[in-house]
Amino acid sequence: MSNGKPVCIVMIEDDEGHARLIERNIRRAGVNNEIVPFTNGTDALNFLLGDDGSGAASEHRHLLILLDLNLPDMTGIDILEKVKGNLHTRLSPVVVLTTTDDQREIQRCYDLGANVYITKPVDYEGFANAIRQLGLFFSVIQVPEIG
């Protein structure tokens, strides 16, 4: 257990409506951590792995990544691969949020190391519940510091 450096939530979601809904539900669950939103994959990767792509930028960060699979410049799978393949970011929990309920895609995400997979249903209540539970989930976990 490290010092109580707060967990930073990185939200990679190109649909601003979705981003806003997710944020509202997280806040409603009582999670007040900082949320850093990105609407495209390139900016998100620059933030996560740094401009040099080494991942050193995230060395001392405590991150939780909310990842949408449909992004304008790349797929969330690409980001997932890079995050889970980097020494400094691979331990950060990744929650995949997507409209897909395709079993193969879900399996692929888990194979690549995704921690949670949430389908965005049109049945909003279910979705909101999932987000809130997720909020409760990371209000109790402490992300271990690397190194």
Partner: protein
């Protein structure tokens, strides 16, 4: 110029016939020669007999004369010995000569010989009677000598004519042999020519056959390539449509999530407003306050209700498209499927509804086993039986019958019901996506039959309906007995 099959046969048969004719000519000529040789050989033998006997006859007559001369000169009876022998042998030799086939001059010869013998006998008789001088007188008279000359001449003539006959026969034999030789050579040459022509024809025909076969093989290969290319194009087009459907339905979902999400947010805000109005109660009675209250109480909830209903319907449609496109992309795995078991299970699945409506599902006769995709077939017949139960005619006990009509490599499965039927103008429409027919008193999105048709077509078959409104429907699923999955559709 290609040889037509008919011409080839005609030419070959003609050549073989010609060869057979040439061979027959050779054989016939040989037979004729054998026969000719036989008869000519007999002729020659007879001619030689004639010659032999003619000489002997002459020698017998000369013997007789020698005996007579000896006796005439000496008067010694012992000299008569040759004459007596000749007298005995003479008829024998004459008969032999006649037997050898001499006819025309034999009379003359006989007369001469008879004359000679008579002269000899006469002189011998004179000597015996002691009139030797008289006998010598007769001999000296030269008559006997003249007769003897005549006999010799006759014999010579016989001999000569015999020789000539032998010569002639031998010559004609040679001629005939020569003819046979020529006929044999000619026939042989002809047979060789015909055989060569036949061989050449066969060779040419065979070569043409080979060329034609190669061309056919090439065309077949090209055709196969073309079919493969078309199939590839079709598969690609189909894949694109599926991908398109997938992407569209996917991308439509994202905004829908927003609509639904923010509708819920609105609802939440509405709750806040309602709480506020409940607190303030009827404190403010201005017209605008009343209108705001009405809006919060009735208008906004109604609007939200419509938005929700529409979004959930839209979600249903999107899900349907997604399901179809996902189903279309599924890899089919053929296996032996017993249709009887499959139909039984499908009707078991609707057992509850059947009992509720007093309906039955019966299998008429036996249903075959096909090699096809089990899941797809389950969905096809599950949907059909489900529909049959769903659209029964109220007040009439439902009878659903399933039967098979086997064909050579395919099988037609009929699902017949006595339900409410489908109007003729809807027979094609019911297979279209999101289209429904008749009274809309049942839940449904109009994807069942569209899905069924897509599945059946993927299985290499087709589905049609025959129906009379108010009396019932018969759905016919025509399937190949064995589903062939091309490798490309799997990729």
């Amino acid at each position: 110029m290609p040889i037509a099959g008919k011409t080839f046969i005609r030419t070959s048969v003609a050549l073989v016939l010609a060869s057979v004719l040439a061979l027959l000519a050779i054989v016939a000529t040989s037979l004729a020669l054998v026969e000719g040789t036989r008869s000519r050989t007999e002729d020659v033998a007879r001619a030689q007999d004639t010659r032999l006997h003619a000489y002997r006859l002459l020698s017998v007559v000369q013997d007789a004369e020698t005996g007579q001369r000896g006796y005439l000169l000496t008067g010694d009876a012992s000299y008569l010995q040759p004459h007596e022998t000749a007298q005995r042998e003479l008829p024998v030799e004459l008969a032999a000569l006649e037997a050898s086939g001499v006819k025309d001059r034999i009379g003359v010869l006989k007369t001469a010989i008879d004359g000679k013998m008579a002269e000899l006998q006469h002189t011998i008789d004179l000597v015996r009677g002691g009139r030797q001088a008289e006998a010598m007188q007769i001999v000296r008279g030269g008559h006997g000598k003249a007769v003897m000359e005549q006999i010799r001449a006759e014999v010579d003539q016989l001999t000569n004519s015999s020789n000539a006959r032998v010569q002639a026969r031998l010559l004609s034999l040679r001629d005939q042999a020569e003819t046979l030789r020529q006929v044999s050579i000619g026939g042989g040459v002809l047979i060789i020519l015909f055989a060569a022509a036949a061989g050449w024809t066969v060779l040419r025909y065979t070569r043409e056959l080979v060329v034609a076969r190669n061309e056919t093989a090439k065309l077949n290969a090209e055709l196969e390539d073309r079919v493969l290319a078309r199939t590839r194009d079709l598969t690609r087009a189909n894949d694109e449509i599926q991908k398109f459907a997938y992407i569209v339905s996917h991308d439509l979902r994202a905004p829908l999530v927003n609509v639904m999400g923010f509708t819920s947010e609105l609802q939440e805000s509405l709750g806040t407003l309602e709480a506020h109005f409940a607190e303030t109660g009827g404190a403010e009675a201005t017209p605008s306050a009343n209108a705001a209250r009405a809006a919060v109480k009735d208008d906004i909830p109604e609007s939200i209700g419509f938005i929700r209903a529409s979004t959930s319907k839209m979600d249903g449609l999107i899900n349907a498209i997604l399901k179809l496109s996902r189903e279309g992309g599924r890899v089919l795995s053929p296996e032996a499927v017993n249709l009887e078991d499959l139909i039984s299970r499908a009707s078991d699945a609707v057992r509850h509804q059947l009992e509720e409506r007093g309906a039955t599902v019966s299998i008429e006769g036996t249903l075959p086993t096909v090699t096809s995709d089990r899941l797809a077939l389950e969905q096809v017949f599950g949907n059909l039986i489900d529909n049959a139960v769903k659209y029964l005619k109220p007040g009439r006990p439902g009878r659903i019958a399933v039967r098979a009509r086997p064909e050579a490599s395919r099988v037609t499965i009929e699902v017949e019901d006595n339900g409410r039927g489908v109007a003729p103008q809807d027979h094609e429409r019911i297979f279209e996506l999101f289209r429904r027919s008749g009274v809309q008193d049942q839940r449904g999105e109009g994807i069942g039959l569209a899905h069924v048709r897509a599945l059946v077509r993927r299985l290499g078959g087709d589905i049609t309906v025959e129906s009379t409104l108010g009396e019932g429907s018969t759905f016919r699923v025509r399937l190949p007995r064995t589903l062939v999955v091309s490798d490309r559709s799997a990729s």
